[in-house]
């Protein structure tokens, strides 16, 4: 680490990069706050800009949005009792009662502070563990890498969805999409049907835009007429800053939330919605006054907000070191980095070390800037809750178009976006989540490459995957993650097969 770490910070401290973090944070706070819009939508809207930006500035912008979005979700949860993002859906349990009691500024202040604490906690985990994990991953050979990627896809297909079967269907469809175009080893075209546009395969950005943005556009169409009741109450400037008394009361909650959020964030697919409820539950169990939870106490807000912010840093650990995205947003960030020629994974810390450390630094700075903007600007930002969706909706659609068109200036990509949008809607209708598909599309080429290279080196002997202890470990872990939901279901003797958990769309 050492010198590269400080070089990363220095690189980030250039004014343009700080400006990008600030712009991202503001956009993330606004999109995270407005119900119906999500951080994912915001990132997709800003993707076209990243194609013309320097990689460091791009990642600064995207991480600004990511951290801002996580904080912003709590504003609407506190003020209108509707979470801006699924990751803030437990903030309203204590946030709204506190705001209703006439203390909206205090609730917002606790929430912003907890987000900062959670973000900084996960930054420490990211800065400490990511380089070490990347070093370990560098020792992996093709069988281990195949097993690792297989494990990543298995865990997201098992735990991020309501039905394991549907999770794997989503992943296999993603892998099938990946096989279109040149094969990753010898460059021979497959499934191209003599279409020159398919020779290089589908561009990942239009796929991400279609799969994530279309279902959200349809949601906004449905929710566009919904009116929300807003808590009336002043947000005096000095009350927005945290008081020492609140910070002390919420100290343990901040710590538990940060710990749970970071750990859950590391697990691919688990994501914010699971982390917040776990953090809330643990904080209540460890509390001296569990009966007060739900009545508007600082600990209730702090645990949730610390957890959902900590998820970001946690999710960045497997994203940066193994190239396995922790959630949908990190999958999009990987897509944006691939376009820039920077594929996350263990080699990132070797081939682009300064960039890797700049990314870590960007996450640190993004947390501070988001908190600063939150403290100073929340009084004005919350006014945007009244922004008409009649204006936002076409704005999102047009930026989706630009995001799909810009990477290759191709209308084929725009139609790809539309096609995948319809596929995303169809999958939602069948209750099949798109997250495993996205992960499979991001990792598919690598999975096939490592499989074939390993088999080539062993002359077709599949025992090569079981010969190495690391490879065997990941394969056994994969088998466990696949079978675990079925075993749990058997135990519960429930009504339907699968593992019930919340989705991970942010």
């Amino acid at each position: 680490m050492g010198i590269e770490f400080f070089q990363g910070f220095l690189l980030l401290l250039q004014p343009i990069n700080l400006l990008a973090v600030a712009a991202g944070s503001i956009a993330g706070l606004i999109f995270g706050m407005i119900p119906g819009l999500t951080t994912t939508t915001c990132i997709i809207m800003f993707l076209p800009l990243t194609f013309v930006m320097d990689p460091v500035t791009s990642v600064a912008l995207l991480l600004g949005i990511y951290t801002g979005g996580m904080s912003g979700g709590s504003f609407s949860a506190i003020l209108i009792n509707i979470p801006g993002t699924p990751s803030a859906s437990a903030t309203q349990i204590d946030g709204f009662p506190m705001a209703k009691r006439g203390e909206p500024a205090r609730a917002l202040s606790i929430s912003i502070t907890a987000s900062l604490v959670g973000g900084l906690f996960s930054f420490v985990a990211l800065a400490l563990f990511a380089p070490q994990l990347a070093n370990v991953a560098l020792q992996f050979k093709t069988p281990e890498l195949f097993a690792l990627i297989f494990f990543g896809i298995s865990i997201i297909s098992s735990f991020a969805v309501k039905s394991v079967v549907k999770g794997f269907i989503s992943a296999v469809l993603g892998l099938i999409i990946c096989t279109i175009g040149q094969d990753p080893i010898r460059g021979i075209g497959r499934f191209t049907f003599d279409n020159v546009n398919l020779l290089m395969g589908f561009n990942i950005i239009p796929i991400l835009v279609g799969l994530f943005a279309f279902p959200e556009i349809i949601n906004i169409f449905k929710e566009v007429m919904t009116a929300h009741e807003k808590v009336k109450g002043a947000l005096p400037f000095r009350k927005i800053f945290p008081s020492w008394a609140d910070f002390k009361v919420a100290g343990m909650a901040n710590f538990i939330g940060s710990l749970v959020g970071t750990f859950i964030g590391i697990l691919p697919g688990a994501g914010g919605p699971i982390a917040i409820f776990m953090a809330y539950d643990y904080t209540r169990k460890f509390s001296k006054r569990p009966e007060k939870y739900g009545t508007g106490i600082p600990e209730g807000i702090a645990s949730v907000e610390a957890a959902n912010s900590a998820v970001c840093g946690g999710a960045l650990i497997p994203t940066m070191t193994l190239g396995i995205p922790g959630d949908g947003i990190t999958a999009i960030i990987i897509g944006a980095l691939i376009i820039q020629g920077l594929a996350p994974g263990p080699l990132l810390f070797v081939q682009h070390a300064s960039f890797a450390y700049t990314m870590i630094a960007a996450y640190f700075v993004a947390n501070w800037i988001t908190a600063l903007i939150g403290y100073l600007g929340v009084r004005w930002i919350v006014k945007l809750l009244d922004l008409p969706k009649a204006v936002l909706l076409p704005l999102i659609i047009i930026t989706c178009f630009i995001g799909s068109y810009a990477p290759r200036n191709s209308f084929f990509d725009v139609f790809t976006m539309f096609g995948f949008g319809l596929l995303g809607l169809g999958m939602r209708w069948l209750q099949i989540t798109v997250i495993p598909m996205v992960l499979a599309i991001v990792l598919g080429d690598q999975l096939e490459s490592h499989l074939r290279l390993a088999l080539t080196s062993s002359q077709g002997d599949i025992s090569i995957f079981f010969a190495s202890p690391i490879s065997l470990f990941f394969l056994l872990l994969s088998a466990f993650t696949i079978l675990f939901p079925f075993i749990m279901q058997r135990k519960k003797k429930g009504t339907h097969l699968g593992f019930d958990s919340k989705g991970t769309d942010q």
């Binding site: 269907i169 021979i188 449905k222 047009i398 810009a406 074939r452 088999l455």
Partner: protein, 157 residues
């Protein structure tokens, strides 16, 4: 037919079609490489197996959703019209260009979500599209489509 049964049959059809197209691919086995069809074959078998599993789950009443829920609600109709407008938007853009098509889409969507004040619609459609054009097209130099029809008109003029 339940949605899952429909989905399972569709997936079986997809896996069979994918298997058929895999057969058409060159084997290209060389130097110990198992070839470029190995991975697609694994995926074909996996998808067939998973589709079968989904079908079994549905037959045993274990998979959700259990029935189709088509209802002509105003929100549903609005969403369908919205999707059609987006499709028309990307179809006409190569001909009339980014600016004009975006102004038209902006106005149509605003109208669709019950904004009826013509001045507001006109102002926002032109204003926001212009801002987007200046922001992405001019400031960030993203080459937005100019439209072949309009180019011809200007050339002719």
């Amino acid at each position: 037919m339940t949605p899952n049964r429909f989905g399972a049959f569709l997936l079986i059809a997809i896996s069979l079609a994918y298997g058929y197209f895999t057969l058409q691919q060159p084997k290209a086995q060389a130097l110990g490489d198992p070839g470029l069809t190995l991975f697609p074959w694994i995926l074909t078998l996996f998808l067939l197996f998973l589709s079968g599993l989904l079908l079994v789950q549905d037959l045993r009443g274990l998979a959700l959703p259990k029935r189709f829920s088509f209802a002509f609600t105003p929100a549903g109709v609005r969403s369908a019209i919205g999707l059609t407008l987006i499709f028309v938007y990307i179809c006409v853009m190569p001909y009339i260009g980014f600016f004009l098509s975006s102004v038209l889409l902006f106005g149509s969507i605003m109208w669709l979500v019950d904004e009826r004040r013509p001045l507001i619609i006109f102002g926002f459609s032109c204003g926001v599209t212009l801002l987007l054009f200046l922001f992405f097209g001019v400031l960030f130099q993203i080459p937005l489509p100019k439209g072949t029809l309009l180019q011809e008109v200007f050339l002719w003029a």
